[in-house]
Symmetry: C2
Subunit: 237 residues, 2 copies
């Protein structure tokens, strides 16, 4: 299958600017493309589509590409049909997925990306590229028609993955416990992508990029620690 | 309206035993009741209904009350109809709410509790007592038919509430940011119940119990800090 995806844990790393830590990978992925279609539906901190698009535009422009928000089109379907590449930004995964369904572009995005159109996702934008949004960290502040996502890859991501803190006195579930609970009801791989990490998916190959590593979870198995640069092709089988 | 509820942030406080920190309030709430109906549907860490009921039974027995799990009845509806009092334990809120809907006992619980039957909830069990589960911290590992909950009270709770950590380098949303995002789409009060806190709801009165305080959020308003012992009757208006 054709795949050309960059699935990023987080858009902003502590102490750095928006998309700074993943700018080189974004530029390589976009390669000879001229324009990026931005999907601002996840609305971080309730930002309007317009304001969120402005932030993405300023940043992507500096990398040498044009960017247009899907909100700047009358028909979101035409926006996707005409796109050169697509970037779905982070925010609230439930708000994002609901809007993707309601705008009727789920199938269209899938068709275009499976024919090789570059796809960039950060945080919630990486969640919706996966099989389902069932391993998001976000609050379910709105009710989407399904938790099924774009299924551009046959596994799930947990973005902003946090290792358990042995000194914590907080009794809420750790991220690992939550993912284990997911595996009582589901069998799919879950990639815990630490902030600073991203998956580069090229056809049937996956490489872990970034600096912080990742942790791969599977039901009835011990978690696997993956180092930057390592391959994760097994996730696609 | 008749109400006799104890909505607890967390079942186990750091360094203490199961229900230790809220045992006195539970005993007072149950008063002259003899038996407790336990709902183990939230399955923390994937625990079976049987094992989870055993943990609750051992603890509630020591307080001087009998406990029976809803799983010990052939018909869950009869279990609720015959109950003296009800205790819904914590775990995964999505798993819990789905099972409550599927077992057909949502309306029955509501009717019984609105006629004065004592209701105890911990964590996810407190979430489902509220208007919706939209302010849970849990992963959406299963898809319930709605996010609408029992509506025993007209507001929401965020259990295990965590104050922002000024020293954190983690870029994932803080709890406060997530609740603010909720308020872009919803108007209900949200009570951020720190671990160690609980709400005692008696008819039209609410008192904050426990040792750690709470934070009340409302759209377009500054959060309110509430101290142990303070009244929150305004939440019911």
């Amino acid at each position: 299958m054709k795949r050309n995806l960059l699935l990023i844990s987080n858009s902003t790393l502590y102490g750095r600017g928006y998309l700074d830590h993943c700018a080189d990978e974004i530029k390589k992925l976009l390669d000879n493309k001229k324009t990026v279609l931005f999907i601002p539906y996840a609305r971080p901190s309730g930002l309007t589509h317009k304001k969120y698009t402005k932030i993405a535009k300023d940043c992507i422009n500096k990398m040498g590409f044009e960017l247009k928000g899907i909100n700047e089109y009358t028909d979101p379907k035409i926006a996707v049909e005409q796109a050169d590449s697509i970037f779905i930004g982070g925010g609230n995964t439930f708000v994002l997925l609901k809007e993707l369904y309601e705008s009727g572009i789920m199938d269209l995005i899938k068709i275009r990306v499976e024919r090789g159109m570059p796809y960039i996702g950060t945080s919630a934008g990486s969640n919706v590229a996966c099989k389902s949004i069932m391993t998001t960290n976000d609050m379910p502040i709105t009710y989407p028609p399904s938790f099924k996502a774009l299924e551009l890859v046959p596994f799930n991501i947990n973005p902003h993955y946090l290792d358990p803190d042995p000194n914590s006195k907080h009794m809420g579930e750790t991220r690992e416990t939550r993912i284990r609970e997911f595996h009582f009801f589901n069998q799919d791989y879950v990639v815990g992508l630490r902030e600073g990490s991203m998956l580069l998916v090229k056809d049937d190959n996956i490489t872990l990029k970034g600096s912080t590593g990742a942790r791969v979870f599977k039901n009835n198995k011990e978690p696997l620690e993956i180092k930057p640069g390592e391959k994760l092709d097994f996730l696609l089988k």
